[in-house]
Symmetry: C2
DNA sequence: GATACCATATTGGTATACCACACCGCAGCC
DNA sequence: GGCTGCGGTGTGGTATACCAATATGGTATC
């Protein structure tokens, strides 16, 4: 690290996991993380417990491990997400002000989200999180946050190609456009088809890259196909 | 407690909160809980952190406090719950086996759930949790668990009258009955109207008992009415 | 050569000492 | 009499020592 570290320990370990610096499935030990993150066991333990509740880290009889990427889990989360997101769209359609929606459109239209995978990932996350916030329901927002966190690592695959990034970009814009003209059912439909397309492409890439990921030492569990 | 304590520290503090032995809003200190629960700060701290992630305890600049009961939050959770529950019913209608549904009907029909407030509370919680489990989606189940936990304390009010308990009992039976004959939309409708009725009665009782609760030193925040 | 056993290192779990900060009350000064 | 400053007390945050359980690897024996 060449600059100071303003983030909390939790945020730093979280980022290491989300950026795949800590590989899925990798075992972690509290003492082993001490030198790496320059903290003692107590705060590291606290961070791990919080990460456990966010689904990024697991604890078993043998100790801690970075949560593996599991195809069946991805499918279940995607299904859950569909519920959350369509409720969020519906409520946002009722409650969001025009200014809110225009700000959301700005976010969705942000051109540089297409430029790099990381931009696309970050902007896409913000978009869905902001949409959930506009539902006016804090619990929907929190649920969406959990979903985005749990899907983040696999979405690295989704944003690799510029075509994918452009498609996501366009679908986000279309969704907000529908909301802006008061077409809530259209927006819901746009959200659902966006998610279904995204999920199937995600699962496909994941299946396609299982061998590659495994070759890099990243275990990929589950998956019927 | 007249019997040994097999439960984890987390479960014991959780129960104390849910049974209102620890009052909503009450401040907690890590050292203060040591003698009360016979553990040292480290595990108490761990339990508090977990309870924080479950929404039963809060942390602010001044320290820890039992989460207050807030009318606006109840409304938001109820709205969130409607989303979760109707998705759960729909998926359970698709995926649950006949045996699963019959077991659920047994649970819903259990006569002693009407007898005492505590029975009604416990059985009702199990019912909705089991229903969510039958959705086959672990994330829906977890979300339902969070919802039931957050609503548990206010539901003490709902289960006071025998009429309430009987009504809940009947509505649960009707919901499963609809699922058993394959009437998924009917079951969804039953769930939604059940929740809406429950919520409005809940909020009403809560408003009605604000003064009483406050008189007992239990703070009740929020509420437009 | 295989197997059983024992020493050891590593794990998370717990207890506790110390720290910095913040609030509160009392006392002394203006 | 009121205001200001200072000390005491209580808070969570951190570091660390110790414990029990377990996995592991090497060695000795059969």
């Amino acid at each position: 690290m060449d600059h100071r570290e303003p983030s909390s320990l939790h945020a730093r370990i979280r980022d290491a996991i989300l950026r795949l610096d800590l590989a899925p499935g990798q075992r972690l030990s509290e003492r082993g993380l001490e030198p790496e993150f320059g903290a003692s066991r107590t705060p590291i333990r606290a961070a791990l417990m919080r990460l456990e509740s966010e689904g990024l880290v697991r604890r078993d009889a043998r100790g801690w491990a970075v949560a593996p990427i599991d195809l069946d889990e991805i499918r279940a989360i995607s299904e859950f997400r569909e519920t959350i997101e369509s409720a969020a769209v519906r409520l946002a359609g009722i409650r969001a002000s025009r200014e809110d929606l225009e700000a959301l459109l700005d976010l969705a239209s942000s051109a540089d989200s297409v430029e790099t995978p990381e931009n696309s990932l970050v902007t896409g996350t913000s978009f869905h999180l902001e949409l959930a916030r506009l539902s006016g329901n804090e619990y929907l927002r929190t649920a969406m946050e959990g979903v985005m966190t749990r899907l983040y690592r696999t979405r690295w695959l989704e944003v690799q190609s510029v075509e994918s990034r452009e498609r996501v970009h366009a679908e986000h814009e279309a969704l907000v456009a529908a909301l802006l003209v008061g077409d809530v059912t259209g927006a819901e439909r746009a959200a659902t088809s966006h998610l279904r397309g995204t999920e199937s492409r995600l699962v496909e890439s994941l299946q396609g890259s299982r061998l590659r990921l495994r070759a890099n030492g990243i275990p990929v569990e589950g998956g019927r196909a």
